[in-house]
């Protein structure tokens, strides 16, 4: 059974009592909430995820609840509770899903320390993986989302999970947070994409979440070997340009765009080294998303994919 098929009652019971289990692949989350409406948003965005038991062991358990005190009624807020602590400032009550998604990402980033976590999207097609690392504002999420709705298997948007021993990429399948214009762009690109509600007035403007598709969910336990590392850079009206970048630079940029590279020390150094040695490294400047997708597709279908 899929989460999208749960009745209101079944969904509500899970969220209030045993917890709603979310299997991201490389991690398992569990959500509790009594905030009305959040369940429906979760059902939309996690529609293709399997229904699993809410008891047992989970990597993150998060609860979204209404803020206490005066803020319960006047300009109501919601807050996230993880392991008895409230780690962030509350959000306006309307922005419950963004709070949960953001908080879940943060919690996963801080406690997942047996794998290297790169700040990167990862997609795969025909057995070839592409790593898309980027600084915020580079358009990485939009590009990753666009690739995901254009025939590529999605492994991650926020967390490029790299296994330390063989530098393979593991799926950490989470909804992709699209902002402002990107929401419309993706909706037009793929009208039947699984898009959650649009939340307005967040710190980053308008936010909507693209839910992972059925095929990506089905393969959430299947690793991918990356053969290409592509640093995207979106700039309005820019020409599409794919340029090779020096491997040593790519190494440095990956390390800098990581959640736990420093903490993992020598193991991270070795894993990134292995990854870089195996991949061709490029910078992709673009202003047109469709052209960017075509460029990546083209790259993947070259006969000799892979590094020295």
């Amino acid at each position: 059974m899929r989460i999208g098929e749960l009745s209101d009652e079944a969904l509500g019971t899970r969220l209030r009592a045993e917890g709603l289990a979310l299997d991201f692949g490389a991690a398992h989350g569990r959500v509790f909430t009594d905030v009305p409406g959040l369940g429906e948003s979760l059902r939309r965005v996690y529609a293709h995820f399997p229904v699993e038991r809410g008891d047992g062991f989970f990597d993150v358990t998060a609860r979204v609840r209404r803020a206490r005190g005066a803020r319960r009624f006047f300009r109501p807020q919601v807050e996230l509770v993880v392991d008895g602590r409230v780690p962030f400032e509350p959000f306006p009550a309307a922005n419950d899903l963004p709070l949960l998604e953001w908080g879940m990402n943060w919690s996963l980033a801080e406690r997942c320390n047996t794998h290297l976590l790169l700040h990167a999207g990862v997609v795969e097609r025909s057995g070839v993986g592409v790593l898309l690392p980027a600084l915020p504002g580079s358009g990485k999420s939009t590009l990753t989302a666009a690739l995901a709705v254009s025939g590529h298997r999605l492994l991650s948007d926020e967390f490029g999970v790299v296994r330390l021993d063989d530098a393979a990429c593991l799926p950490m399948l989470r909804p992709i947070a699209l902002k402002n214009e990107s929401i419309g762009v993706i909706a037009r690109l793929r009208p039947d994409a699984t898009l959650g509600p649009v939340y307005r007035g967040t710190r980053k403007g308008d936010v909507a979440h693209l839910g992972p598709d059925a095929e990506s969910v089905a393969k959430r336990d299947v690793a991918a070997i990356a053969r290409f590392i592509v640093f995207p850079r979106y700039e309005k009206d820019a020409a599409t340009e794919l340029e090779p970048i020096a491997r040593a630079r790519a190494f440095a940029k990956l390390a800098v765009n990581s959640f736990n590279y420093e903490v993992l020390g020598p193991a991270a150094f070795d894993a990134v080294g292995r990854l870089i040695a195996r991949c061709e490294c490029y910078r992709l400047s673009y202003g047109n998303l469709v052209e960017a997708i075509a460029t990546v597709d083209d790259l993947l279908s070259r006969p000799s994919g892979g590094g020295a």
Binding site: G56, R111, N113
Partner: protein, 373 residues
């Protein structure tokens, strides 16, 4: 009445149980592991749990998804350990040429000595003790070499220098570990003053290093004093676990317990030691020889004082339940312990001044914050 195992919250019971008896790991359900891991992480003890399981050769019995969390915590601890080693290296480069005696305290000492106690720990500071008469010189050398004081307001800085037993915390740019330079074990204004000179005289050199560490007995006593005199115990279960680890490791050495009793009397730290042993035995199964335990208990308070501490320490030491926030009674208990630690740290008139000053500053800051809204 000391809370027996049966009356402890489930997450506390499970966590204490696995620390005291690692073999229990074999029979934990996934639900129980979920509680243990979350409680241990909150108490910063996840790495120590792994260390104890590994020492007992039980890691293979841990379910795979759980193991990832233990290993993750272990990796974090390994990073912290290296950051401490780096800081030790950098500080020695600056201070060793001046021939200043350098004594490591607490976590950094455990690392330098390679004690089992150090495994899985998450140190944040390097605690260094230098002779009082060399303090200014050391401070100058460190500042010259790039260390800077962490932002403190003039009141705090005055408090540190004049009334406390340490320089304000320092940090070199880009260094993860903060440097705390002390000249005594406990604040000189406190009610209990251990014999620092005697502690220094008994220090032991760490082979292959410029640093010295406290003798085993003094190391234990310092940890006890640090927990029961110098802090408000809040969430400090890990400090009690440290003492338990130290006693398990040092306790097997010939003559350790005799020396411990003698040093306890010398330093006047009997009360703290008695608490450590009382709660360590009850909650962590700390092994204490049967002829020594009554001697240590004699240092403790009378039944009423003991009863009060039992309640307070129980409330304050343990991590909150993973699915709840603290109840009002826990909060009050913690406040009481905090008040007690301040009471022990400073004479009454200074306490009043300190409280008043903090209160005024707090009010000023709040007013400013509101104005800026």
């Amino acid at each position: 009445m000391l809370s027996s195992r049966g009356t402890l919250d489930r997450h506390v019971d499970l966590l204490l149980g696995i620390l005291a008896f690692p073999a229990r790991a074999v029979s934990l359900s996934l639900d129980e592991w979920d509680l243990v891991v979350r409680a241990a992480r909150g108490a910063r003890l996840l790495g120590v749990v792994r260390a104890r399981l590994e020492r007992a050769h039980l890691l293979d019995s841990v379910p795979t998804p759980v193991r990832a969390h233990l290993d993750g915590a272990w990796n974090l601890a390994a990073h912290r350990r290296q950051m401490v080693l780096h800081e030790m290296h950098a500080v020695a480069k600056v201070l060793a040429p001046l021939n200043v005696p350098l004594i490591l305290l607490k976590g950094a000492a455990y690392i330098a000595q390679g004690l089992g106690c150090a495994e899985g720990r998450l140190p944040e500071d390097l605690d260094l003790m230098v002779p009082r008469e060399r303090l200014d010189e050391a401070e100058r050398a460190l500042v010259l070499a790039g260390w800077a004081f962490e932002k403190t307001d003039p009141y705090d800085e005055h408090y540190y220098r004049v009334w406390s037993h340490e320089l304000p915390p320092m940090r070199a740019p880009g260094h993860a570990i903060e440097l705390d330079v002390h000249h005594m074990i406990l604040p000189p204004t406190g009610r209990v003053r251990p014999d620092t000179r005697a502690m220094v005289a008994a220090t032991v050199a760490v082979s292959g290093s410029r640093y010295r560490v406290l003798s085993p007995a003094d190391q234990v006593l310092h940890a006890c004093a640090h927990l029961f005199q110098d802090s408000d115990c809040t969430g400090r279960l890990r400090d009690l676990v440290d003492i338990d680890s130290l006693l398990r490791e040092h306790g097997t050495a010939d003559g350790f317990w005799t020396t411990l009793l003698a040093r306890t009397s010398l330093h006047g730290l009997g009360r703290s030691l008695s608490y450590a042993v009382r709660y360590g035995s009850a909650w962590l199964g700390t092994p204490v020889p049967s002829d020594v335990a009554p001697e240590i208990a004699r240092f403790g308070p009378g039944p009423i004082g003991r009863g009060a501490m039992d309640r307070l320490v129980g409330l304050a030491l343990f991590p909150t339940a993973p699915d709840q926030e603290p109840t009002p009674s826990t909060a009050f208990g913690r406040w009481l312990l905090f008040a007690r630690s301040m009471w022990l740290r400073m004479p009454p008139w200074l306490l009043a001044y300190h409280s008043l000053a903090k209160l005024v500053r707090g009010a000023l800051l709040r007013r400013r914050a509101v104005a800026e809204d």
